[in-house]
């Protein structure tokens, strides 16, 4: 089945909104909770030195919020979705390594401490979100601020 351009664009927009909202939600939960909560979740992976844990627990929530906002508005759409995708791949590898090492993860820390899903569930959930990020990357340019600004500058040069 071949998708028309219009449908592709709509799919891209929907994917952008879904992936962006998820990222904003995940970041918001962490940014409004004590940073120690998220730090505790990162510590559980036993993969980073303490200073990285501190830096990540303070910065990740904001990075997630900003990327989510950029993706929803369609600003730096390509770059945002690539960075987001890389983050998700990294999260997937991290969760997978924790499962393989048999670490007793209480929760993955993906949505702060408010939601405590099993690592396996989060692994699957992240894969689904990664698909949305891919769709946002592939078809998300049309109804975006990037496109609007591009058209505006073309109009100006005419």
């Amino acid at each position: 089945m071949k998708l028309s351009d219009k449908n592709k664009n709509l799919l891209g927009l929907t994917a952008r909104i879904i992936a962006g909202t998820i990222f904003i939600y995940a970041g918001f939960l962490k940014a409004t909770a004590p940073s120690e909560e998220f730090a505790f979740a990162i510590e559980a992976y036993e993969a980073f030195p303490p200073f990285i844990v501190t830096i990540a627990s303070l910065s990740m929530p904001w990075i997630e919020i900003y990327l989510g906002v950029f993706l929803i508005f369609g600003l730096f759409t390509r770059i945002s979705s690539i960075v987001m995708g890389l983050f998700f791949i990294f999260f997937e590898l991290l969760i997978l390594s924790a499962i393989m090492r048999g670490l007793p993860l209480a929760d993955c820390g993906c949505f702060g401490s408010a939601h405590s899903n099993s690592a396996t569930f989060e692994l699957f959930q992240n894969l689904v979100i990664l698909c949305f990020v891919f769709l946002a990357y592939k078809f998300g340019e049309k109804f975006s601020m990037d496109n609007w600004l591009k058209n505006k500058s073309i109009e100006k040069t005419k």
Binding site: T32, W62, S153
Partner: protein, 210 residues
Amino acid sequence: MKQEILRKIFIGAGLIFLSTFIVMFIRHLDVLSHREAPEFRILGNKNAKIHIEEFTDFACPACTGAHKIIHKLFKAFKGDIKVSFKHYPLLSLHQWSMHAAAYADCAGQQDKFWDYADLLFENREEWGFTEKLPKEAFKTYAKKLNLNIDKFDACMNNPETMKTVKMDMAEGKMLEINATPSFFVNKKRAVGARQLIDKVRKFEYLRRKK
């Protein structure tokens, strides 16, 4: 092209500023930092008009006194008061307090949190200042309360237990607690037993209101 990029950067900076402002504003509202203690750490009427959140360290002497005041207040108000117990071990002063908190939560899993807490406060000098982790003392208190020791041990080995204690500590840090015992009486801060009594008196009129 250059102008297009500049515009993007400008709008991006605006969006970053706006989203930061919104999140910081919500944080400032302080609606998300108070969270419910587990059921077994709540004493009294859940719909009471006076709600005391107690941030305590089991090894701190002032907390022992304040804990007795809490019991007295509870009796005076005939149970028409809600007390939520939160752990706030001061690890720089009392190295085993966090473990004590976790053990108390494990007793709570068997509905004996408050009895176990009383024992910890009463015997704080026995377990609080030992060189090695006083596991035996903690188990002796559990046996005194006829707790199932296998369940008690299993609970201690569960990472969720320590996590719950750490979450309380994180919440306390976010609320900028620097001394124990600290209380929040209907979200108004009180440090120490005297301030607690004063604050409770201030809110006493709420009980008479229907």
